[in-house]
Symmetry: C2
Subunit: 173 residues, 2 copies
């Protein structure tokens, strides 16, 4: 009986260990962003467009800025600060020359969205994130959240946009 007991205990421990491994892997791949505790918002790819941009240099990306309903409403009503519940998403893709388009235009001029680079989110909660202007920050690459070191740099970078509630992007009509 003792042997069976020890066997069952070992089996249970192993199962728990494997389950925890699975959990930690899952939370790594589709996990919660550190510091601000932000998860990838459900359905964010369906949100409406705020604007588009191109970052050259090291970024070398094309990006779209999308907003949830609260964000779009505030943008369109020109209302600052953004209300709690606002979420702004920044999607970035590689900056890819399009040979197909260039043939049509007859010259090298066309750049399109290539493979996805990462997604960033700004989440407004003036109580929870009071220390960072009311905003929580997150970045996910292929579902995996960026680490603490990177996220600690977000707010400082956004301070120059303080007069627009720390948001750089203007609404593109």
């Amino acid at each position: 009986m003792k042997r069976i007991g020890i066997f069952l205990l070992l089996a249970a421990t192993t199962a728990c260990f494997l389950a925890s491994l699975r959990f930690s892997r899952a939370s790594n791949v589709n996990g919660t962003s550190p510091i601000f505790g932000i998860e990838v918002p459900a359905g964010y790819r369906d949100w409406r467009l705020v604007s588009v941009a191109h970052e050259a240099g090291n970024n070398n990306d094309l990006r779209a800025i999308l907003g949830n309903d609260a964000a779009i409403k505030a943008y369109r009503e020109d209302r600052l600060p953004f209300p709690d519940g606002t979420v702004i998403a920044r999607l970035a893709w590689g900056y890819l020359p399009s040979e197909e388009n260039n043939k049509v235009f007859g010259r090298d001029q066309s750049f399109v969205a290539g493979p996805p680079i990462n997604v960033q989110f700004m989440v407004k909660d003036s109580t929870k994130y009071a220390a960072t202007g009311g905003w929580g920050f997150a970045q996910f690459t292929d579902g995996k959240p960026a680490g603490e070191a990177l996220l600690r740099t977000c707010f400082a970078c956004h301070v120059p946009a303080k007069s627009r509630d720390y948001v750089f992007t203007h609404y593109a009509p």
Copy 2:
């Protein structure tokens, strides 16, 4: 009595003339695109994002491609040809260096959407537009439809994308 009758007739004619002037002005500003008879689709600015792009050269723009529900569904299901009812919108804005963003990045690298340039639409109706691959084309600048000459060039330009139902833009995940 005759004088009053002539006066009333003149007044009515003048009113009709002024009304027709107002109408023709309105249909000029928010009118119907020639050849294909397309109006600006209601609520298109709320549609979901297909992708983003940058055309350099003479265009010098940043653009977003949006799709109505039928378009987004077909894109996500990788379904060709696009079903009747599909509408794809291409919004273009000036390609504007952002001094504010460049200061944050510490180098000249940031380009954002400037003033709106124009909006183009592709409308799928395989019966009505059978002569142009099933697609109707339209362009509006500040609500004013582009003329026949420009629209006659649209389909020929899209022929190289025939294998993708004449649509150049790929879906950006």
